[in-house]
Amino acid sequence: MEKFLWCILLLAKLMKISKACCYCGTCVAVCPSNALELCDCESVVVNEKLCIKCKACEKACPVGAIRV
């Protein structure tokens, strides 16, 4: 049970990109630590190790698809 709760906590801490994402790349361009990458046409890849939780992507997203 404890393990399960930890998993939930960990998931809650991760950055979330919702299905509202239009893959415009604005978040990638403003990320100060190069933690984001637009791969192929339809995926934004987050490198959690590089993310510094500055929320620049969240503020720049035109459709409000990102929660940090």
Binding site: T26, A29, V30, E37, D40, C41, P62, G64
Partner: protein
């Protein structure tokens, strides 16, 4: 596979670079990660006529949605400044076709075009670019080349890969949303621009007509606490002539307004268009700039091919030439934008009142100082900066 150059990104900048290179006889591969060139559109589609003419592009009726003759600019309190006339003529393009035709022109010149092909890495040996790793469908392969044109948009991966700083500060990135709307009441040949903190903080809202009752309605914002989409919905609801329209398309994206990146070249790499932030900081327009820089990149790379020298020193010529071509215009827009940023809504209204009482285009400093005696010094300073 082996070729002379790989151009990454088939937008206007990339296609023009590929076309220029192919015309001079180089073996070029133009790759685009999307399945179809020009789609999805990330643009409000307005551009000037003169620029396209100067570039010598075959203009097809198919990719012109409408012809405009200037703009009505509205200040926060609704004061109208009429900036229309023959000298302000422009096109509203149909970008999905425009981009496609530019790629077709490149292909006709001899470039090989591949869509649904994603450049995921560069092959770098001895500090020089030797090739591009591509992925098409699920196949990964390497294309060996001598230099790469990075025309890969605001999210530019190529620039970053070779250590060029293409990052845009959050405060200098406008967040944009646009609806293509039908069934609205617009002037067929006049663009509408709306300014104000309520409408679009740090940017402006636009209505660009694409026909009798169809238009691109959008806005760009900066440093706001709601998303661009929210602002756009509020804007449309607040305008009587837009409120009852139907939405036939959604476009979102970021437009960097900090001016060009510090360095647009590296060993075997040049950056073009949005990747190099060749965007006008005031208007957010970048179609002509990207195309012009694409042509310049092509010319410089051909010269480098003749000398067989793709080092940083050799490609520095690219930056020198694009600065000659569009540098001063970009810097001027940057200055005006920075001046505009310092003004509040009340001051914008005062400026609009001054400008609306003058015939735009024939203003000189004396007129403005005479009329603006009662205006605060910041406003006068800004107006003088305009001239």
């Amino acid at each position: 596979m082996r070729c002379d150059f790989v151009v990454v990104g088939a937008g206007p900048g990339g296609s023009m670079a590929a076309k220029t290179l192919a015309e001079k006889g180089a073996k070029v591969l133009l790759v685009e990660k999307r399945p179809e060139i020009g789609v999805p559109v990330r643009c409000a589609e307005a551009t000037g006529i003169e620029g396209l003419k100067a570039l010598g592009i075959k203009i097809k009726e198919k990719f012109i949605a409408s012809r405009t003759r200037g703009a009505y600019v509205y200040s926060p309190d609704g004061t109208l400044v009429d900036i229309s006339g023959k000298e302000y003529s422009g096109y509203i393009l149909e970008r999905r076709l425009f981009d496609k035709y530019l790629a077709i022109y490149a292909a006709e010149a001899g470039a090989e075009v591949r869509t649904r092909t994603y450049a995921y890495d560069l092959l770098i040996k001895d500090n020089a670019v030797k090739g591009v790793f591509l992925k098409q469908f699920n196949k990964r392969f390497l294309v060996e080349c001598k230099a790469v044109v990075g025309a890969d948009g605001i999210e530019s991966k190529i620039g970053r890969r070779v250590g060029l700083n293409t990052r845009t500060k959050l405060s200098q990135m406008t967040s944009n949303a646009q609806f293509e709307m039908v069934g609205i009441d617009v002037h067929e040949d006049i663009m509408e621009l709306y300014f104000g903190r309520e409408v679009a903080p740090g940017g402006y809202a636009w209505v660009f007509p694409k026909g009798k009752d169809i238009a691109n309605v959008g806005l760009g914002i900066r440093n706001a606490n709601k998303s661009a989409l929210e602002y756009l919905k509020n804007f449309i609801n607040s305008k009587k002539h837009l409120r009852n329209g139907k939405i036939s398309g959604i476009v979102v994206g970021g437009v960097p307004v900090q001016g060009p990146v510090e360095k647009t070249y590296s060993n075997g790499v040049v950056l073009v268009g949005d990747a190099a932030r060749h965007v006008d900081p005031l208007t957010g327009g970048g179609i002509y700039n990207a195309m012009k820089c694409g042509v310049i990149a092509g010319e410089v790379l051909i010269e480098a091919l003749e000398k067989d020298n793709f080092s940083e020193e050799s490609l520095a010529e690219y930056e020198k030439r694009w600065k000659q071509a569009i540098g001063s215009a970009l810097m001027r827009s940057l200055r005006v934008k920075e001046g505009l940023e310092k003004l509040n809504d009340e001051q914008l209204n005062q400026i609009a009142k001054v400008l609306s009482s003058l015939k735009f285009g024939s203003v000189d400093l004396k007129d403005i100082t005479k009329i603006s005696e009662e205006l605060p010094p910041e406003v006068i300073e800004f107006l003088q900066g305009l001239l």
